[in-house]
Symmetry: D2
């Protein structure tokens, strides 16, 4: 997908600085592996601590990483003084969260001054590097400016 | 909400046994505090390890607990040999995940043999016990029978 | 549900004036039967012109009426000079659209200055007056002020 | 998108036969313009009878056509004796329904024996043929076999 116009040339530093403040991402072992204007990728290894009852990655963890990928995809296009909030998202779980590592990609489908819509895809990779689409997300993100406690 | 008809009188033991196998629930400090036919409640304390960049509970953790509450609400009505899978869910985040502890309630809106629809609500409690609705979920759950690896 | 605080005492006249300008509502035979602060009801008879392939009311028509009910529920709480736009909605279809007439109720779950979240329920009534919940909606609505072409 | 494997070689005739039985599609002036394995397109002209209060195509009509496109995309892959039901869908409205004609494309993202997930896109075309993405949908469809009244 082509890059989107950014409002702030320092978008990558801004996204990375905010990401490391998301303690939930650190806790699940997630890393930011790609930051381009309007598209962000997050990777994490399989972790038995974040499984559901069948031993697969919990749908909620998949959603958490997809939400962050979509939120930062939107945030990458926002002005320097803005914060990002997720208004809502929908996840479809297409296949079990079974794999050695997982990649979560978020891309802005519709930029906007106040509201941005982003779509996400989660892929599971097995030990041979084969990828499988395991979930998709559509999320609505909001640009917040001048609200105390909401920076980044 | 009135109790729903169950397919298995041992539903509570079955739900509790499956819940403890959800390692992600243990990891986030969640506990099963209510199991009735068609309604389940999960509680968790605020934990700095599961926050987003503004220090609030991460939307993904809220979704994780709501997904479990909705999934087990559906599972409580299923036959003894069935497993439950989440097909999809949507979350609306109504207020920041700010509080001392959180309660996640899932209730079956529409029971069904193959497909169940459940609705969830997340509440944040402050130190004085005041509750605030912070998120809602609608999820679609599927009854799975005879699929290897999907028990409970 | 208790009434919500309104921003404009003339909310009912404002909602009714906008509704009659929704030609799609006139075309499907829908009527506004309840307008209270934060809750709106719309009714329509079964019409063979708006069916899907099995002769039931088309899911899209159910969504259309639910979207209007949710949108006007939000609009009832908005200032006099605002317009309402639907950002997104999700519908769960719980039972076929089979009945003599249909009632669609929208209620604001979370009011807000810019964003409002509304939930909707669609009921089918048979010839004896028995009601059945056939669909639910969660929608996100936006208050728009000062955008040309978006009044009401 | 590459074609998906079909369960019935006569899929196109089957889709077209079902489509003409969707009276709601005839009523809004929609036509089936593309039927390939897993992807379906529907077109309709702008019609003042199906507008919302600002004169744009009603979000519900956009949803109705997207739902049909997604539903028939799924149906194209189903066995000859199956019927298709929409379990749920989510629509994001990205731009006003302003244009001379509209194209609605539905594609299966995840085929499955019981459950299929399809994604849809709605485009508005102006008088010079310029296209604009106005809405996206993600829908969950179900294969129904042997349920009376649900053929096609």
């Amino acid at each position: 997908m082509a890059d989107r116009p950014v409002a702030d040339g320092d978008f990558e530093a801004r996204v990375r600085a905010s990401f490391v403040r998301q303690k939930a991402m650190v806790t699940i072992g997630a890393e930011l592996t790609l930051v381009t204007p309007g598209t962000v990728e997050i990777e994490m290894p399989y972790s038995p601590e974040f499984t559901q009852q069948h031993g697969f990655l919990h749908a909620g963890v998949i959603s958490m990483a997809l939400d962050s990928a979509c939120g930062y995809a939107a945030y990458s296009l926002m002005p320097a003084d803005a914060g990002v909030l997720t208004i809502e998202f929908k996840v479809n779980l297409l296949a079990p969260g079974k794999g050695e590592r997982f990649i979560f990609r978020g891309s802005v489908t519709k930029p906007g001054r106040t509201i941005m819509v982003a779509d996400g895809q989660a892929f599971a990779y097995d030990s041979e590097g084969g990828a499988k689409l395991i979930a998709t997300m559509t999320g609505t993100m909001m640009t917040v400016v001048g609200r105390e406690g909401i920076e980044g």
